[in-house]
């Protein structure tokens, strides 16, 4: 923030155009430059179009998807998987995190297992989930849950451990019972940690959904990519990636808005 302000000041002295505007122009120029480079290199066949696609074809494919409306169904499926994975994963993690943080026995007993499961590359569970839950959305949700769970779990665990002892003593002096302590001190404090890991965990749920789709599915953007790859249609693969990136950016912006609403009490 400070840095940006400093730039603004210097910019206005140098040229009269604000530095942020200049930065935006340069960012746009960089984008156009890279796309042009891609275009020229593939058009002149320096890079084989078979492997690298063509920007215009990719663009056409994206536009086509939106005009025909074909993409909306697939985007919807991916989004539903993401949201379900996030909600189920973080709820489970919230409950487990609270439980483990408040019960030393439970935490001591399961510590090595938690560490082992966390260390395991969990994407490898996808085939098992496909077997268990089929090719529908639930195998993707399950993968998303395993990814989201640990991000949120460790945050909640840490959050509960770091509840100020003074705030706790104060609540006890004000007459809180054990249950009330959980509801009015531990839970709000833990929830705030869930929200502070929101960007990471929503991202994880998205990864779970797309990877799950890519490994076997009947719908979703990952499925579109998988289909296109099957027929060596590299332009469509790129188009899928572009759509996924846009969706991820929009999702992240939405999360930012939600976060701001929910963490109003936090100092900026």
């Amino acid at each position: 923030m400070l840095k940006a302000n400093a730039n603004v000041q210097r910019g206005s002295v140098d040229s009269g155009i604000s530095a942020t505007a200049r930065l935006r122009i340069m960012q746009a120029a960089m984008f156009i430059g890279l796309i042009s480079l891609w275009y020229v290199l593939t058009e002149t066949e320096i890079l084989p179009t078979f492997f690298f696609g063509q920007p215009i074809e990719v663009f056409k494919c994206v536009v086509q998807w939106f005009i025909t409306g074909e993409i909306f169904y697939h985007l919807w499926v991916t989004l539903v998987e993401t949201v379900l994975g996030f909600v189920i994963g973080s709820s489970l993690a919230l409950v487990c995190g609270l439980w483990f943080a408040l019960s030393p026995t439970a935490s001591a007993l399961s510590d090595p297992y938690i560490k082992a499961i966390n260390a395991m590359p969990r994407v490898i569970l996808a085939p098992i989930f496909s077997l268990w839950f089929g090719l529908g959305i639930w195998s993707k949700v399950a993968l998303g849950v395993t990814l989201v769970f640990f991000v949120v779990f460790f945050n909640v665990y840490q959050g509960v451990k770091e509840v100020s002892p003074v705030v706790l003593s104060n609540a006890r002096m004000l007459g809180a019972s054990r249950g009330q302590l959980l509801r009015t001190v531990y839970l709000p404090s833990a929830t705030s940690w869930v929200f502070s890991s929101l960007h990471t965990s929503v991202g994880m749920a998205f990864v779970g959904a797309v990877v799950g789709e890519y490994l076997g599915s009947a719908a979703g953007v990952g499925y579109l990519i998988l289909q296109a790859e099957g027929v060596f249609d590299v332009n469509t693969v790129f188009a899928g990636i572009v759509v996924l990136t846009m969706a991820a950016l929009i999702l992240d912006a939405l999360v930012g808005v939600v976060e701001q609403r929910l963490l109003r009490w936090r100092p900026a």
């Binding site: 100020s164 003074v166 104060n170 007459g175 009015t184 001190v185 709000p188």
Partner: protein
């Protein structure tokens, strides 16, 4: 009638031979080896409606004593009696406690913070709200109900803490250097306000501070604690300054200076001892 007298004569707080030991925080854990005795054999009474200050060098176990009275820690030996009934493992329900450190719930607004104790007691939301609003007004925070703690100044947060405690109308008030983090001006304001509130509704107050001037200007009685470990009361002074008092004006009176000199001469040695220990 006899009953009434008996109840009145039971002290609000009576420490009877309180000793508190803690395992020492040394790296190696040898069973039962290192024990730190914070306070040793403390006997002290706070009468109903009395304002008592405990002063002593930093780290002498003043807060330990307060935590015993609050029921937050159990003494290793001895008993604490509250209005004649011994406190056995559990929170002192008659007491309100104001902490030195920040104790407000950051995720609740000022109003919700003041309401929380009433919520715990099952008071209806509407009534709790009404009472909390009136207490916020009493501590001079009308119009700040919907602010979160981080949007308030240090002094304002202390006022919220004060309202949070007093809205429950406790018979005993425990204060652990509540104003030590405030700047000098705010501090005097808060001290006067506290005295005003206390005068309006004489509660029994146990006030912990390391600031002798604060102790004298506010209390009926000042107890000096020795330097730790094994701190214990070494002297007691009745403060017979007239009330109502203005804490900033009373500090200039001759009587105050005389008392200050008297108490300081006792305290000085302990402070030096405490200082030497903290350097080791």
């Amino acid at each position: 009638m006899a009953d009434a007298i008996a109840i009145q004569s039971a002290p609000a707080i009576a420490f009877k031979g309180i000793t508190c030991c803690f395992p020492k925080a040394t790296g190696k854990r040898r069973a039962g080896a290192e024990v730190y005795t914070a306070v040793k054999d403390v006997s002290l009474e706070i009468r109903e409606g009395e304002f008592v200050s405990v002063v002593g060098p930093t780290g002498c176990g003043k807060s330990t004593l307060l935590n015993v009275a609050a029921g937050l820690i159990a003494p290793t030996s001895g008993t604490a009696e509250i209005f004649g009934a011994p406190l056995r493992g559990g929170i002192n329900r008659d007491a309100g406690y104001m902490f030195q450190a920040e104790s407000l719930m950051a995720w609740r607004t000022a109003l919700q913070n003041v309401m929380v104790g009433l919520e715990y007691r099952g008071v209806s939301a509407a009534e709790a709200r009404e009472r909390a609003i009136s207490w916020l007004a009493k501590v001079g925070l009308a119009g700040f109900e919907d602010r979160y703690p981080h949007q308030l100044s240090g002094g304002m947060r202390k006022r919220v803490s004060l309202a949070q405690m007093l809205v429950l109308d406790p018979r005993i008030v425990l204060l652990d250097e509540p104003f030590s983090a405030l700047d000098a001006q705010t501090r005097v304001l808060m001290e006067n306000e506290l005295l005003g509130l206390w005068a309006a509704n004489q509660k029994s107050v146990l006030f912990i501070t390391h600031d002798l001037e604060e102790a004298i200007s506010m209390s009926d009685r000042v107890v000096v604690l020795s330097a730790g470990p094994a701190a214990h009361p070494i002297a007691e002074f009745e403060i017979d300054l007239p009330r109502p008092r203005d804490v900033s004006e009373i500090r200039l009176t001759e009587q105050f200076l005389k008392l200050h000199h008297e108490i300081w001469s006792v305290m000085k040695e302990e402070v030096l001892k405490g200082y030497a220990q903290s350097k080791r």
